[in-house]
Symmetry: D3
Subunit: 256 residues, 6 copies
């Protein structure tokens, strides 16, 4: 088990770039695995990527130098442990709103005594990698999504859970719970104070600061405000944007 | 069964824009179906899109105003008829190198007496659309790939097959069989004479002129030389280009 | 996002007819989508329809005028939110036995401030439909299954949860928990008092009254007693009944 | 390997009843396997049932007393041999129009010296059944579809191929190639002479007479004219008919 | 519904032999179903076997005389009920650490009044087997995994839950929570006292004693200490061992 | 594109060891890919491995040092080219019985001017590996199965086709066409003369000599007689043997 590239980047003070994978298809994921990102986030929460697709996708990412992270559907032990068994090296967990939820989440990511992750000798990853159990707790990154007003209010409680490696702000849901427009970008002044408050807490607790962003410009704004993990779009987003731009260009050329 | 949008465009003298689908996944194909193309070409020849994937993809494209075309793996009756049964409104057939091959291809696309397509009452499309058989021959577009030196030499023989709706030049294979670089673009002078000769034959025989192109600029060159059907990249191509550009931009911003 | 056909029917005092889908296959679901039902209930609780199948099935139902409802496996946020992200316009949730369970269920169906549903910009449905978030809470129908003696006893508590659109009696489970035969029909007198009591509560709370029924005759009995949503069998049930009747008819004709 | 139930029926002068399977799903095929038919015809020609689906479907049919037959996509050795390897006990081959085509078809169904079927020790069926090779040639039923005017004209040539077990008339395609309406039933006088001529040839050559039929009434007409193998609809057909009838009945009851 | 072979063995004082299935593939599971085991444990916790795979696998095991058991991903009602609906005749539930967890688990396996399992008339198994509901509670085996130090401490509390049929020690996780090496075998003295204590409790409560074991020798040790259910490896384990041994043998023969 | 390990072995006079893959599952194929074989032969002829499965399996084998070979279903251009596009580095083609069949086969494996393989820029492999086209003809191994009496008689004709890299004797089919028992091993004297004759021809033509074998002992016999490529069982075979041996051992221990 090689050292987690994102963890290594963070230790050196670097910023990790992560891209989303919503297309549950190994032909597509293999192309994404060779695009150079630090991590890919296979999205089981908001896309049709299911357990079967996830396993195949991780198989195409493992060994390429890009880390396979999984956003699990919810904070449930089996969703988290199955992703780890399949070879995920980071877990993004949605909707962590309290210290108890964060403890349950982090515990599911780690073997005892740090947590309560269950070991399976023939899980894909333990099967592939000798000595996995001894290294897993140090190498796997539990990352909690902070995406409600409630979570912002309890941020110190949440981030003080031992073993939590990072946080990842979900600005859309955070905006909805704060009564703001979920599609707006980071140039507006209304959301930034909450982002700043969360990032400040992340620094206090030694937890890496991550954030999803609608655009690359928003990612740059986030870096300027202290982000350690930023979002560079998704497979489906890049596909859609490129396809629409191509058709628009042809349409303009053909004057129709 | 609505009139084929590409056929209608051609009748009005327009140029149809087609994009490829190499990702066998209905979440992705549905996004592509809403990108505005005149046709999508589901690629069963050079991608992992298989029969099961094709059926689901066509289901997400049917009814959106974009025509679902299929590039079949080879000139075999069952591959062609299964794509049509699933609802394909155009068939792109690789490697048509002789009149006999073209006759076999076109015949597989059409019910008797024009051809020998077999009818199935519970095929997806006949099942969905009342009166399908009566309209299918007029609505389905058989399009032959011209992609070898041999095919160029026999172009009049090939294009004179009754019922052939279009041709589609494969410049990579044509280049390989002519001893040229398969990856080069249309600005080089070596391939253009062959393209011009084929397009001239297309005009003579009343067959629409199509061509695949490495870039949108090449598509524009093709339009200037008489193309009726051009290529605007593929799902995987747009996804890869967008992903790599995003990472490059972030890498540049982060100075690493 | 068009107005929910079932909601529109209910507003006009009409009765909605729903059919079940237990066959996880898009060829079958597309046929069912064109059979004219007001809604199809994709059954993730008691059939092999899984997440991957559900997504494809909804893609074949969306846009046909029939509403894609999903019976989720259990009252868990991720099961509910994934179905909604895929485009479900109604959620049938099994085994709602208390007000707290109903609140958790309804909250998972609605964005803040009404609930705690998480937003994903590249979920299938938000991806497809501009302005989805603003309209979703008004259009999506949370429907609680009432199927235990305990739930009948707490019916006013359960139905008073704000945002609950409907109830759906499960007569088999209700019979089992009441010590009655789970397969019996509605002509027997033992189950009807419980049904009447629940429907009366539905009327009191302005919640639509739904019920599953073994036969169409039972559906007619339910309508006579106040049902707003009835069951017209399932894909597998209709297939099995038709197949067995055909073989019986041939067997009789062949005298064997 | 048990004796083929259809072969046994034929030996006793009986008529076999076959139902089609167009839904590529093992939950559905298992229900169909328990409906009592003599054979199920998994349709790879005119439905989305592909190789993967076929294998699973045969696994649910094998051992139930119903014979798993496969209609292959076309007369190609690999399609035929893969179906047999998976456990098909009868092969229905479309569009047999000449003696040479029939020889190629029958040969693909039989091991040498009768044919040229290839043996695989780990194919599903040889793997499951000891002594398979010794019994397979006697137990497997090659059945040729007669569905063009050309085939009717060459019927004696075709049926005289040694090893051919049966014929199966495709009345829709036969009608199309004869210039008749493909959807009409057997009560019309125009198609019956061709059917009679083919059945008479079947009797002459000791080949079982089969025919697809639009309705059960047509199956009865076919039996009266000498059919040994008749069609009792399909999974999708029964599902669709039952679903539409149920909605029609509810619609009538609700007066809308 | 035939009597559960494992239950019958236990009643006669016999030891049941169970093998794991981690390969989610029906071709493989059908081979395993004919290998003679008393039960196969489809592993949804530590392998990629998902819901879709599980259903097909059970279809290939049902009727062969080997019992299809499922290890569910976690103690959640829907995971348990879906496995039972698909035809599982035993449920192995991970990480049962308290009486409350055991009650929730056993309740999900049984219909009322013994439990709260929900009934579905078109679930695969109820669909296939007449009279299923009446016999299910007596035939289905709920088996709790005992695999933490905490569970060992509360063993009497856990095992006294009515309806619990068996326990299954997970020695790897138990070792991890006790601070021991998870890969060690049963010949070491450190883990055996815990195993003996659990087995003694099993005897006290009339609950069958099961245990997973790294090797067949460990299974023999377990039998000597009172096991009623032992582990004989897994599909993937046997495949891997055989493949590596074959290559080693060839490598030795070729002297490389 | 790295040099083909099997080709390198052959150049050095070594014997390559190949194992079969009949289980169409990436979890299993990844385990097989780490078992140390020189090549794995994904069997599309005699197992349920279809196109979709093949692609995923190759993705798990590529990069491990084991070569992914594919046995195509039959000698058809699209089956061959799709396997190569997916990344196969060797093609085993069944039933090559004449020089014309061998020419068609080898031609489908090679780009012009050596053959007529079609190029696709977004095929999995060309997509992954820069410069693929220039190196592919030299790196891909076309291997013809010699498995009929007819092929043995025409062996010099067949082996003289330029570009053919190897032959692979199928002893079962060869036995059947010679009237011998297909399951017998190589210690019998009847089949060995044919094997020797074919191997002698292989040496004459500079074509590597391969052969399938029922047991490892037969593989050793084959090596002694000049084989360059031998068979070391299959995934399913090793799984089945290991499972049966384990059950037999437990049964013996339990004396039942």
């Amino acid at each position: 088990m090689q050292e987690n590239r994102v963890k290594a980047l963070w230790r050196g003070g670097g910023v990790a770039v992560m891209c989303g994978c919503s297309i549950g298809n190994t032909y597509a994921s293999e192309i994404m695995a060779h695009a150079g990102f630090d991590a890919l986030m296979l999205d089981q929460q908001h896309s049709p990527v299911d357990w079967a697709a996830m396993t195949g996708m991780i198989q195409t990412i493992a060994g390429t130098g890009t880390e396979p992270f999984v956003r699990v559907p919810w904070n449930t032990p089996s969703d988290i442990m199955r992703a780890l068994d399949a070879g995920a090296t980071g877990i993004i967990c949605p909707m962590i709103n309290s210290r108890a939820e964060c403890e349950a989440f982090v515990g599911a990511c780690l073997y005892a005594p740090e947590g309560y992750r269950s070991y399976g000798a023939l899980a894909r990853y333990t099967n592939m990698a000798a000595g996995y159990v001894a290294k897993a707790n140090a190498n796997v990154l539990p990352i909690a999504m902070i995406e409600t007003r409630e979570a912002v209010e309890r941020i110190d409680d949440i981030l003080s859970v031992p073993g939590l490696a990072g946080l990842f702000i979900g600005p859309s849901d955070l905006s909805i719970t704060m009564g703001l427009d979920p599609a707006a970008d980071f140039s507006r002044p209304d959301l930034l104070p909450a982002i700043d408050a969360v990032f400040a807490a992340g620094k206090r607790h030694g937890v890496a600061n991550g954030i999803s962003s609608p655009t690359l410009n928003d990612a740059r704004i986030a870096i300027a405000r202290g982000a350690d993990l930023v979002w560079a779009g998704s497979d489906a987003g890049h596909m859609r944007a490129g396809a629409r731009a191509a058709m628009a260009e042809m349409r303009a050329h053909l004057k129709r």
